[in-house]
Amino acid sequence: MSLTAIIFMIFALVVTWGGATLCITIAIKKKSK
């Protein structure tokens, strides 16, 4: 597996799960319902 492919795989995981984690963090911080 090439380095470029690895970078794009990490990019995909970071954007999606990073986005989800950010949303969850905001929800916890703001204590919203």
Binding site: I7, F8, A12, L13, G19, A20, C23, I26, A27, K33
Partner: protein, 498 residues
């Protein structure tokens, strides 16, 4: 009529919404689409589509459901008495998808049991078409009902009935809270196993190595917008129905964004899983990845079982894979059926238990058509038409009418008053201009392709009966229901004025 039910917890709602969005398409459509449209480079248009179409639409639908506290038909009629037909169109689509989706979920359940003994043997193509489906020569040759398929379809409808009969908290929320962690943990276990297989890297190289030329092709962008559009369960009432059960003070924008990101994250994990398996299978057979890669039913029920046969501990991996497929499908089917049931409950003030019982019985009867020998052909045509014409047209109509002619500003204010973050000009721009342009282009492209080529080489008669006829019935049904509703309202007004 009692008080409207609510979700017990925010987590329960998120699990249910994510469960509805994560379906079979995440597992069998996204991986191949990425591979076929530039590999890693496809992720760029895909994420742009997520940010400019997926998230704005899901926020809009969640707000509609939350603000008008009702399933799509009543929600749209509360926006404008002339907009009810949009809701009926979405309910019709949900009904059609529900009756054939149930049969695929039933196949997944059946395959979970078959996988425990690797009952598909070595020739998985022959097993699936000849021994499992007993497939007929074409969609016009219906053949008899296949008993095994019918039994599992009935079991699936029974499970749907039990879940929806139990209500929002004790049914949908309870099931989602159990099934979603199972799905996630199951996926991670299989993923850890398959990425360590010899050849997995070869598959992942094909999946993620970017071909940047494809970014400059318009078809890549329509594929990305199409995938986002189909995978988020938007524009056929699910998000509206689910969010109508949210508490008054519930957040909208963050919940919607969270759902969209988790859904896409699951798609990425599924793609890694599928291409690791395909890479392993290609290496074992000494063939190129293009010889084993595919999408849809063929990928899930033929290619994957074939690859599982070659793996260490195939029974465990096979059972876990099909269990995950069943769980992903089941959490989606309950949301699809809930759209229809909640419409009956809200529109006709019917008791949930009665509405669910009647609907599940009727739905099950219709599903049995797809368990006939010719059922898989019919399913293929119906699925093609309801996706490419039903959902796409319903989507354009909903977004154009709501953002241009109905109460978009009021909805925006409703979102911003209670959300963790606000929506602004960009959100309005995406809804008013960007999304209608992409969806409009997709719709015209679909129409031209349909009129110039024959889908799947099926007979024209079959395409008309199972394809165009359903689209025509959808339009007639939605406008007839609008007409009846307006007539009843006028009669009521006349009665009062007398």
């Amino acid at each position: 009529m009692g008080k409207r039910e609510n979700w017990g917890t925010r987590m329960g709602f998120i699990f249910a919404a994510v469960g509805s969005a994560i379906g079979l398409g995440n597992i069998w459509r996204f991986p191949y689409l990425t591979y076929a449209n530039g590999g890693g480079a496809f992720l760029i248009p895909y994420f742009v589509a997520l940010l400019t179409a997926g998230i704005p639409i899901i926020i809009l639908e969640m707000a509609i459901g939350h603000k008008y506290k009702s399933s799509p038909v009543v929600a749209f009629s509360r926006m404008s008495k002339h907009a009810e037909w949009m809701g009926w169109m979405q309910v019709f689509i949900a009904f059609i998808i529900g009756i054939y989706y149930a049969v695929i979920v039933a196949w997944a359940l059946n395959f979970t049991l078959i996988a425990t003994k690797l009952g598909w043997g070595t020739n998985t193509t022959s097993f699936f078409y000849n021994h499992f489906l007993h497939v007929s020569s074409g969609p016009l040759v219906l053949g008899g009902i296949v008993p095994n398929l019918a039994i599992f379809a009935i079991i699936t409808w029974l499970l749907i009935w039990i879940t929806l009969f139990s209500g929002i908290r004790k049914g949908i929320e309870f099931i989602s809270k159990i099934f979603m962690p199972i799905l996630f943990v199951g996926l991670i276990i299989i993923l850890i196993r398959v990425v360590t297989l010899k050849g997995a890297g070869y598959g992942l190289e094909w999946l993620f190595n970017p071909h940047f030329d494809s970014i400059f092709e318009f078809k890549t962008w329509t594929a990305a917008y199409g995938q986002i559009f189909f995978s988020l369960s938007i524009c056929y009432g699910i998000i509206i129905a689910y969010s109508s059960y949210l508490h008054d003070r519930s957040d909208i924008a963050n919940n919607a964004t969270m759902t969209a990101f988790i859904n896409c994250g699951f798609s990425v994990l599924s793609a890694i899983l599928i291409f690791s398996v395909l890479g392993y299978a290609a290496t074992q057979q000494g063939v190129a990845i293009k010889d084993v890669a595919g999408s849809g039913i063929g990928l899930a029920f033929i290619s994957i079982p074939m690859a599982i046969n070659m793996m260490p501990a195939p029974k465990v991996i096979g059972t876990l894979f099909f269990l995950a497929l069943f769980v992903a499908g089941f959490t989606s089917i309950i949301s699809i059926v809930e759209v229809c049931c909640s419409t009956i409950i809200d529109k006709y003030k019917m008791n949930r238990r009665v509405a669910v019982s009647i609907f599940c019985f009727v739905g099950c009867c219709f599903t049995l058509v797809f368990t006939a020998k010719g059922g898989v052909h019919i399913l293929d045509i119906v699925d093609h038409f309801i996706n490419n014409f039903g959902i796409v047209f319903a989507g354009i109509i909903e977004i154009v009418f709501v953002s241009w002619f109905l109460k978009l500003d009021a909805i925006k204010e409703h979102i911003n008053r209670r959300s963790d973050f606000t929506v602004g000009l960009l959100w309005t721009f995406c809804l008013k201009y960007l999304i209608p342009i992409f969806l409009g282009y997709m719709a015209i492209g679909n129409l031209v392709e349909e009129l110039t080529t024959s889908y799947g080489n099926y007979a024209k008669q079959a395409i008309f009966y199972y394809g165009w006829a359903i689209v025509i019935v959808m339009i007639l049904f939605s406008f007839s229901m609008q007409y009846i509703s307006l007539k009843k309202q006028r009669a009521k007004i006349n009665e009062v004025s007398k």
